[in-house]
Symmetry: D2
Subunit: 88 residues, 4 copies
């Protein structure tokens, strides 16, 4: 993994972990469910941003190398699979 | 919040936190991005299940009470808003 | 169904049908796939807006009536089911 | 666009158009909103399958050519953009 993608990913994971701790506290303190749900949506959005970052890194390393090395079937099949899984 | 919804929610949040720690380790150990992305998808699915549980509890408490108390405009507006936000 | 929800829904369905015809033409004319995909995303967004409208109408009619008539278990179970299906 | 991707896409678009006509009739005939919503979800799923097909074709043509021709920055940036848009 590219060093800057890795550093940025770890930073984002820390942020998501903090956000999730906040949601745990909201549940423990019986906060209003609508407010808790808005926070869980925000966590999912943050995970999607992490995914975009990881995908970007993946495309610029493994996918390019795979295509140049003649393993294009494998790397492209994985991309289509990820796309479908993302919509599940 | 209903006691069983609260207990179940906290259990699910713990599970999600554990899953997220696993993803952190995968990033730190430079695992294959495609495998990491499949795990972040699984975390989002787990958060959506937590949301269904919270929504179920919310409907059976605040929404029913709100409608019986004549505050239906507010509780229904919030539900439509949550629905739209969920698709953002 | 409320008359204005029905009229507005039919208007939106017409719009979506027109949008889809445009996508058909793009495919027939071999337009760039990335541009076609941006249009299919837009159609999905338009369908989600139609869904919010239908849900809003449903909440203000069947759900309120169901709760006042003591059929709350059924109407709330359907809402939770719709929420889960929406994320599938 | 590859001929088989094009033929299969047009077939799927016809299917989606038929499905949408069915939804229009359901609205016109005041069918139960929950049943209508389940159909709009099915249409969105069908559009997502069309997207997977189009993406698969795009990856195997334009993306591979782009990478081999040294236009990798452009084709990869578009893929990341599509991924982000898909989650909007």
């Amino acid at each position: 993994m590219l060093t800057d993608v890795k550093q940025e990913s770890l930073k984002r994971i820390s942020y998501i972990e903090g956000h999730l701790s906040g949601i745990r506290r909201m549940v423990e303190e019986d906060k209003y469910c609508v407010d808790i749900l808005k926070q869980t949506y925000a966590v999912r959005r943050a995970i999607e941003k992490l995914e975009s970052l990881l995908l970007d890194g993946h495309l610029h390393t493994c996918v390019i190398e795979g295509i140049k090395d003649g393993r294009e079937e494998q790397v492209l099949r994985e991309l289509v699979e990820l796309y479908s899984l993302n919509n599940k």
